[in-house]
Symmetry: C2
Subunit: 352 residues, 2 copies
């Protein structure tokens, strides 16, 4: 605490990202990074634009990049907003759309940053409990609310809801914004982007950090009707005119343009995930059905916390959340085949 | 307006950055960019780190970069905060420190983003009028307030206050944070960084966009006592864990390390500024005393708006603010010697 912090600052409980330890080399299966590098075309595009023009401001409207995303998804440029990672876009969205006079709704087990945003922007929230199989009960998002956010697939459970299932929720909340956070949608799910023209209250948020292997570049995208995009621009232009730098913009454009590489690498992650799940089941793990680049697992006998600690000692990092309902689960990012073979080998010794 | 915008979003008056026209090639003297490219070592450092590791998140604590800045200024790492341009840092600072129950204070003629931040964070403000010579009257910053922000040199006037003059203001406001926005300090002014150990309420904010020729990379720095830095971290970690990407961090470190290049280029800008001022005076311009990389000028006969429009038609962009008290002034960024010679030549035809 400090006399120089105002009320908001003193009351915050900031988000804690997954650890990035520097003490030794780990197999890192704890922050859902993509095990494959970015497209070589992305690296080439960044190197090409690393020139004297860095002295000049970037395009504050990010027109070229928004054109590329629009064309990719069959939308118009005015339906696209881009930002410094999907986290920044989510923060802007909470700030722009959610109503402080009514609780906002999100699942009880979900991305832990949502609560943090709510505190930052003075929003009340009501947690909607997942059912026993960790399904998001969409029919329960029906109380009076100031906005809704649901990740699909959910994190850390990895469970996916078919896009069409959101229609009822969207229809029943036409006066509030419903955000679908699709950070992990490219690993086997279908995006809700196709519902944007039907539902002016739908904002779909995606990131280049996971499926496009660009966690180190900080680029995210939001898609929705033009009024929502204009709302996000009002907040952004009252905060920082240039949230994306020249290098990020160039890399992001190249990432969307290399469709073949994107298809190949996401497909490899999916294959590895399915192989890993099969092996985990043989080791007596419960594995939540996954359409993400991670799996959420629980062993029938050995407590998750023990496994987490043993893995860490043996040089493998996974994520453990010491929270009610999920404190016997581990979230494990999907690495390369080699990394997952090492993981399974070490794991089989631990649970044997 | 939209039914999906909340009260804040509907009431905002966003900042409008200087134009970046795409219709033709201009001599751009309108956004205070540095006419010299970034250090070749910056470009090399960025190219080197443009590799497969872009798939991994950056260090959320930016330790290496903060170490470099700390050493550069003789501070400790915990006195350093870094962000996505000084604009983001200013936004975080308004959010973290300023008290919504009392007006904050800043000059009536100053960086127009301050008002925008105040609206975004629900802050009242009291404008302290500059005197007739555009001096910031530090003795007038003495009313009950929720925080103070003063740019030094001021923008768009370019006028500088010797760092020691801030001592009284800092002493009289020990319970509020006083931000000194030093975006332009490296063009001849002395930083208030030397006052940090004496004044726990002082936050100094700088940017790499101007004196380090990196407007396109988006990096800013704040320096102050550890409690202030921790306050900024609380806000940042409730907003976006990774505001600086891997490339920005690498480029920023290299920029601080190449001290010789920094000295040469800032010195060149200062020399060109002094030559330009001399020529402007011969053309019957009033020139406000400048310690920035721009000059604020007014002609004895020809209205600023006319000059602005004529220059634009002839391919030279400067900045004109249609605001009370300064609507007969132009802000002109200092370009290369060649650019300023062209500017003076065209200008002399206009005011002849």
């Amino acid at each position: 605490m400090s006399r120089y912090w105002n009320k908001i600052t003193s009351s915050l409980v900031p988000y804690i990202p997954g650890e990035q330890p520097k003490d030794k080399k780990y197999i890192k299966l704890n922050t859902n990074e993509n095990p494959y590098p970015p497209s070589p075309k992305v690296l080439a595009a960044i190197k090409e634009i690393t020139n004297d023009d860095l002295r000049l401001y970037p395009d504050p409207t990010c027109e070229n990049f928004r054109n590329v995303v629009a064309e990719y998804h069959g939308l118009s440029r005015n339906q696209i907003f881009v930002g410094n990672g999907s986290d920044e876009i989510l923060a802007f969205s909470f700030n722009a759309f959610f109503d402080t006079s009514k609780p906002i709704l999100f699942p009880d087990i979900t991305y832990s940053f949502y609560k943090v945003y709510a505190h930052l922007y003075g929003l009340q929230y009501e947690l909607i409990p997942l059912d026993d199989q960790f399904n998001v009960p969409l029919d329960k998002f029906n109380s009076v609310n100031g906005g809704i956010i649901i990740p699909n697939p959910n994190a850390p459970t990895a469970k996916y809801i078919p896009a069409d299932f959101f229609k009822t929720t969207l229809r029943n909340n036409m006066n509030q914004v419903v955000i679908i956070d699709e950070a992990y949608i490219d690993f086997g799910g279908e995006s809700a982007i196709k519902l944007i023209d039907e539902f002016p209250n739908l904002l779909v948020v995606q990131t280049l950090s996971k499926s496009r292997s660009l966690a180190g570049l900080r680029v995210g995208v939001a898609m929705g009707n033009e009024e929502l995009i204009e709302g996000l621009n009002r907040i952004k232009n009252s905060f920082n005119s240039y949230t994306l730098d020249r290098l990020g913009l160039a890399g992001a454009i190249a990432a969307y343009q290399d469709k073949e590489y994107f298809k190949q690498t996401t497909q490899k992650v999916i294959m590895t995930r399915e192989n890993t799940i099969e092996k985990l089941k043989k080791l007596n793990f419960n594995v939540v059905e996954s359409k993400a680049n991670f799996v959420f697992i629980s062993h029938r006998k050995v407590p998750a916390k023990i496994i987490f600690q043993d893995l860490r000692e043996k040089g493998i990092l996974v994520r453990y959340f010491e929270q009610p309902r999920i404190d016997n689960y581990l979230r494990v990012s999907i690495g390369t085949d080699d990394e997952m073979n090492s993981f399974i080998r070490v794991l089989s010794q631990i649970v044997d």
